[in-house]
Amino acid sequence: MIDFKYNITENFLNCKFKGRMGADNAEGLTKMLQDKIEEFDTDNLKINFDLKDVDYIASSFIRICVLTAKQLSEGNFSISNTNPMIKKVFKIAGLDEILKVS
C-alpha cells in the first residue's frame, strides 16, 4: 500500500509519499492524483512531490512524475527531499532538471 498524504495551500499541492514506490499500487496512485488534480485549474496549479520518506522508486513512479508534470504549466512541478540514491535515479534518467529534483 502506498502511503500518500497531501496538503493544499492556494494553488499549491504538496504530496508526501512514504516507503517504497513500487509498481503494485501505481494504478491506484495515478487515479488518486488525477482525481485531486482535476479539482484545480491546472494552468496555475503547482505540485511538489516530497520524497523525504521514500527509499525506492520503480519506473511506474517515474512515469507518474512525468505525467503529472506534463499536465501542469512548465516549471510548476517539482520533487523535493530526495535521498542521494533517488536523486541519482532521476539524474541517470535525464529527468532531474525537467522535474526540478532537489
Binding site: T82, N83, P84, K88, K91, S102
Partner: protein, 476 residues
C-alpha cells in the same frame, strides 16, 4: 591522392613493417627495449620538462619533472614484470591457455597539458606490447614531444627495436591526423585530449581508447582530518598549476564544518573570492559563449589569474576559491578548470552534500574521478557507490592519486579511462594490458552433463524449465 593521405600512407606503411618485425621478438628482447627507453627518458626528465614548460607556457617545470618521473620510473615499475609476449597464462583446470599478440600500429594523441609525460607513457606501454606507435602532439607542444620521441627512438633502436617503431608528426596537421585515424592499417587510437578529438577518434572506424573530461568533486566529511584534507587538496590542485584532468574542481562540505575548512584554506594561503570578484573572474576563467575554460588561464598560477582578472591577492596565493550556491548554467565556475581555481559549496546536511557531489559529477565529469576525505568507512562506502567515477580517491591528493603509483597501487598512467559515462570503453588507468590481443587456446574439456543428457528433450514443448533443469542436473 592529397598530401595528407600520401603522408598517412607512408607513415602507416613504415609502421606496418615495424609491426611485422616486432612480432619476431620474445619477452626478453622486448623487456630490454623497454628498459633502455625508460632509462633514456628518465635521464632526460629535467631537460624535457623545461622544454615542455617553455614551449607550452603551462604549469611549473619542477612539477613537469615529477610528471616525467611518474611516466618513466613509475610506469616502468608498473609494467616491467608483466607478461606481454607469447603465452601469458595456462590453466590446466579449465584447459585454457592465453597468448598475447600485439595489436599493430597505434596512433597516440598527446595533450598540451601533460605533453612529454604522456609521450613517455604511451611509448613505454606500446613498446612493452610490441606495437609501433605514431605520435600526434598538440600544436603547442610539438617541439618538446619531438625531442622526447627522438630520445626514446634512439634508445629503442640501440636495444634492438625495429626501425620506425616510434614516429611523430613533426608538423601539426589536422588533415594528417584525420587521415591516420581512419587509415585501414591502423590498429588502435590512444586518444588523450579534448572531447572533440576523442569523439573523432571513436568515430574513425578504428578501435579507440579515449578519455573523458573531469569535474572532480571533493567531499570533505565531518569525520575527516580537516588540516590534512586541505593540505592534500592544495598539494594536488597546485601540482603543475592544476593541469591534470583528475585535479580537484569543487570542495563540498556540510555547514557545521564549513567555517573550519574555510579557515584552514585561508591559513594555507588560499583566497576566498567575494561575489564581485567571482564576477570579475568568470569571463577570465571561462569562455562565456562556449561555457568551457579559457585556454589562456590553463596551467597558470593563482596570482597570474587574479592579476588578469583585476583581483588583489597576495603573491603567494595558492588557489582562488569561489563560494557558489548553484551548479551549471549561471555558475560558470562550477565546471572543469585546469588551473588553481576551486568552487566551494556549503551544504545543509550530509544528504545535501552528496546530492551536490552528484550534480557536479554529472556536470561534464561523468566517469572520471571523485574524491573523499573521511575517516568514517560507511560514508566512504556510500560515496563510492553513488559517484559515477572510474576512480574514487580516498584521503589522497586527486591529481597524483588518480595517475597511480605514488599514493596507491592503481596502474600508473596519464590516460584515465572514464567508462561509458565519459563515452569511453574502459574506466581503467590505461596500461600495457590494454594494448594486446589475447588469444585463448582452449583444449577439449567435454561438459559431462551435456553429453549425458538427452538433448531431444529440448524439442519437447511440454517440458518446462523445472523438468529439464532437474533432468540435466540429475546425478551431478
Amino acid at each position: 591522392m592529397d598530401n595528407a593521405q600520401q603522408m598517412a600512407n607512408e607513415m602507416l606503411g613504415k609502421a606496418s613493417i615495424a609491426s611485422a618485425v616486432f612480432q619476431e621478438l620474445n619477452q626478453e628482447d622486448t623487456d630490454k627495449i623497454v628498459e633502455n627507453v625508460f632509462k633514456a627518458g628518465f635521464n632526460n626528465r629535467v631537460k624535457l620538462a623545461k622544454m615542455a614548460h617553455e614551449e607550452t607556457g603551462l604549469g611549473v617545470w619542477q612539477h613537469k619533472v615529477i610528471k616525467n618521473v611518474i611516466a618513466t620510473q613509475f610506469v616502468y615499475e608498473n609494467i616491467k614484470d608483466e607478461k606481454t609476449v607469447g603465452e601469458i597464462s595456462h590453466d590446466k583446470q579449465t584447459g585454457i591457455t592465453e597468448i598475447a599478440q600485439p595489436l599493430g600500429p597505434i596512433f597516440a594523441i598527446i595533450p598540451v597539458t601533460n605533453p612529454t609525460s604522456t609521450v613517455f607513457n604511451k611509448i613505454l606501454i606500446s613498446l612493452k606490447t610490441r606495437n609501433p606507435i605514431i605520435i600526434s602532439a598538440h600544436r603547442n607542444a610539438v617541439n618538446s614531444c619531438t625531442e622526447t620521441v627522438r630520445i626514446c627512438y634512439k634508445a629503442a633502436l640501440e636495444a634492438g627495436a625495429p626501425d620506425d617503431c616510434i614516429q611523430i608528426i613533426e608538423e601539426h596537421s589536422r588533415e594528417l591526423t584525420h587521415e591516420i585515424m581512419i587509415h585501414d592499417q591502423l590498429a588502435l587510437i590512444l586518444a588523450t585530449g579534448g572531447t572533440g578529438l576523442v569523439h573523432a577518434a571513436y568515430s574513425s572506424g578504428n578501435p579507440a581508447i579515449g578519455v573523458g573530461p573531469g569535474n572532480v568533486p571533493v567531499f570533505i566529511d565531518k569525520s575527516a582530518d580537516i588540516p590534512f584534507a586541505v593540505e592534500n587538496v592544495i598539494l594536488s590542485k597546485t601540482f603543475d598549476n592544476g593541469t591534470i584532468c583528475a585535479s580537484e574542481q569543487s570542495i563540498i562540505v556540510e555547514e557545521d564544518i564549513a567555517e573550519a575548512v574555510i579557515q584552514e584554506f585561508k591559513k594555507q594561503h588560499c583566497y576566498f573570492l567575494d561575489n564581485d570578484e567571482i564576477k570579475k573572474l568568470e569571463p577570465i576563467a571561462i569562455n562565456m559563449s562556449k561555457g568551457s575554460m579559457n585556454a589562456d588561464i590553463v596551467g597558470k598560477s593563482a596570482y597570474f589569474i587574479a592579476q588578469k582578472a583585476g583581483i588583489e591577492v597576495a603573491e603567494d596565493t595558492k588557489i582562488l576559491i569561489a563560494p557558489l550556491d548553484g551548479i551549471g548554467i549561471g555558475y560558470p565556475l562550477s565546471g572543469e578548470i585546469l588551473a588553481p581555481i576551486l568552487s566551494f559549496y556549503t551544504c545543509k546536511d550530509y544528504d545535501d552534500a552528496i546530492k551536490t557531489c552528484i550534480d557536479l559529477n554529472y556536470l561534464g565529469g561523468i566517469g572520471h574521478t571523485a574524491s573523499i576525505y573521511a575517516n568514517d568507512e560507511k560514508r566512504i562506502a556510500e560515496f563510492s557507490q553513488i559517484m559515477n567515477a572510474g576512480r574514487i580517491v580516498v584521503n589522497t591528493p586527486s591529481s597524483q592519486g588518480a595517475v597511480g603509483g605514488l599514493y596507491n597501487t592503481l596502474n600508473t598512467s596519464f590516460t584515465l579511462g572514464c567508462g561509458s559515462g565519459g563515452k569511453n570503453i574502459t574506466t581503467e588507468n590505461v596500461s600495457a594490458h590494454n594494448l594486446i590481443n589475447i588469444q585463448r587456446v582452449t583444449r577439449r574439456k567435454p561438459n559431462q552433463k551435456w553429453f549425458a543428457f538427452d538433448t531431444a528433450k529440448y524439442l519437447d514443448e511440454t517440458m518446462n524449465d523445472k523438468t529439464i533443469i532437474e533432468e540435466y542436473n540429475k546425478n551431478s
